[in-house]
Symmetry: C2
């Protein structure tokens, strides 16, 4: 029986069934769950009639980028130029959005080189960054597609939805060498809102983006793409009429933040940090403490938006990863927790899977409980 | 004028003086400050009459390991076998302490291979881990030096100081193939205590370790090394009579947690994350916000023990790195902060430098304000 069929009856399972001989810590990925997650998001996008342009920041893997394209994605999204270079050169991605401002001469020169090998769209949200891109592109007789990044409530980057974004869109549309191919927002704040409020926050963000697109069009400027992106908001924002594209990232693996929100179960969390119990201090109150070899260098230090601790140990709801140092996870055990002997292996769903993947050089691919492959995290650490 | 001489009059300076052309984010290291930090800790250890065995987790760099040995270190410390393999093979380290339990057959086999190339001491803190090591070592006709790890208040790993540690030491001393070369503690909890309490907490930990060593000796067991380690406690624990060795790590670079405690100034923080302002959202209240290209993938998410925010922007005490996502640092600016225009570069002292170094593949070495070299972080990501 494949695990993919098992998940309908088993809500919580370890993806590495019996193999306790792996050298840990490592990140294991259940191939069937991964494929199911990819297929279902593709189906969701199709049901909304929007294009799917997944964010590669979660997996940083040419293998998984290709799986997403084969499932119907129109292209990929990434944050940094270095990630785009890897995806173009190693995954054969021909259409990529860098959803991040390109600032500085070195990056602009790298972008010009990348344009020779792929269709690249770049986010802009300031006059300064757009002007520098325009000058470099025009000098080189090229046209660069840009998305104007719009702040719909996250208050991170982006021109504010409404008048500010409209004015910047008009300015950009007049800059030589730049083509305003669309506008985008990252409604990541929806995922951090109260679970009852996700839908409302996401839809408000989507509507603000659509309204901004309409106002720009009234200035006689074409806005072909109206793009949103955030896994927790995927069931809400893209169904706002006028949205044309979605860019979820985390859905390929999901994580503790996702299932604690109740949208999906731990059985949908495809990536697990496999860790070994390395110490089990004795005596009271130490008997309720176990130390695992997954610290912040394996799990990352990202907080959970909804749960205490630094990840969920599958099958052990009474165990809390209470403290992390770099190489130690200090686990506090409830009185009814059995086991956790030195040498035992556990599987952990990290709070946030993306930075955990960024800490490892490879993904250990598992099917039906057994290791079947190793995939490099080729875009790991590409912060530039 | 070299920066090393300048630090006596300038308490806060940027290490990259004029070069705004670097592709960011990156970690820059001021070579003169690094050399001064290394020399001063070596002098401190000498003044106490204790051996210095620095922890390599901070730099993960064969270059810096060699500098520490040349300054008089008796050997290196590391957390993981993978780090030890790099230091032995790339830095020529011949004497190394793995201050972490070795658990699992794969790791034991790797350890046996490493023993052929270097003198390796391993921490043990459970009967199970010691027994497995003993069996493997004895079968191979070898002797393995071990340090018993003792918990002196950190409540992470380690047998509790006193009776529990004495009993485990007796047990280990009878195991074939193992030689109890010493006992060790990591008094890391001292650095997280109230600044006024660091000395007391550190000295209590050191005294508990010395007392435990004495009790073990009364059982007729030799305890040659009594080893402590923690940069914030370096000025206190090693001066407890009976301590023979110290293992500080962070001192080579120092970080925000260190200077916020008042022990050292930002001028002693040798490693900086150099970052570029990539967005400067306009309008109120957005005018007080800047976005930099150093997020949690450059700075790491470790909290500060004494200061809000995710690092200190050198020269900008009124700027707070209020929020991090993977590629964005959201900076909140006080009304008197000028500048922070798109394209500006800033230098950040991370809260915790060790995990930040673990996120980058190379250190950019700077002297007198100019880049002079690039050193690989060869033991980055060696979590196994």
């Amino acid at each position: 029986m494949s695990l993919a069929s098992a998940v309908s009856v088993v809500t919580e399972f370890r993806i590495i069934a019996g193999d306790q001989s792996l050298d840990t810590p490592l990140i294991a990925v259940d191939l069937d769950v991964l494929q199911r997650n990819i297929a279902e998001m593709a189906a969701l996008a199709a049901s909304y009639g929007v294009a799917l342009r997944p964010h590669a920041k979660t997996h940083k893997s040419p293998h998984i980028a290709r799986m997403q394209l084969e499932a119907g994605a129109v292209g990929l999204t990434c944050a940094k130029l270095g990630e785009a270079e890897v995806l173009v050169d190693q995954a054969g991605v021909t259409d990529i959005l860098i959803a991040y401002p390109i600032v500085g001469d070195i990056k602009i020169q790298r972008l010009l080189h990348l344009l020779e090998r792929a269709h690249v769209t770049v986010a802009v949200d300031t006059h300064q960054a757009a002007a520098a891109l325009s000058e470099a592109v025009a000098v080189n007789d090229r046209i660069l597609d840009v998305y104007l990044e719009v702040n719909t409530g996250q208050d991170r980057a982006g021109a504010r939805a409404g008048q500010e974004a409209v004015e910047l869109a008009v300015t950009i549309s007049r800059m030589p060498g730049l083509r305003l191919a669309g506008i985008m927002t990252h409604e990541g704040h929806a995922g951090f809102s109260d679970p009852d409020q996700i839908a409302t926050v996401a839809e408000n963000a989507g509507q603000a983006l659509v309204d901004t697109a309409e106002r720009i069009r009234r200035q006689g400027i074409e806005v072909a793409q109206v793009s949103v992106g955030s896994t927790p908001a995927s069931w809400f924002t893209p169904r706002v009429p006028g949205i044309t594209e979605m860019r979820p990232g985390t859905y390929v693996f999901h994580d503790n933040n996702a299932f604690r929100h109740g949208r999906i179960g731990p059985d949908r969390c495809a990536a697990r940090v496999v860790s070994t119990v390395v110490s089990r201090p004795s005596g009271q109150p130490q008997s309720h403490r176990a130390v695992i070899d997954a610290g912040s260098k394996a799990l990352a230090f990202d907080p959970s938006s909804s749960h205490p601790g630094h990840g969920y140990i599958v099958g052990h709801p009474g165990a809390t990863i209470a403290r992390l140092s770099e190489e130690h996870g200090v686990v506090t055990l409830s009185p009814d927790e059995l086991g956790f002997d030195v040498g035992d292996q556990v599987e952990i769903i990290p709070n946030h899977i993306c930075p955990a993947v960024n800490l490892t050089d490879e993904l250990v691919i598992v099917q039906d409980g057994h290791v079947v492959d190793h995939w490099p995290v080729a875009a790991r650490g590409k912060v530039r």
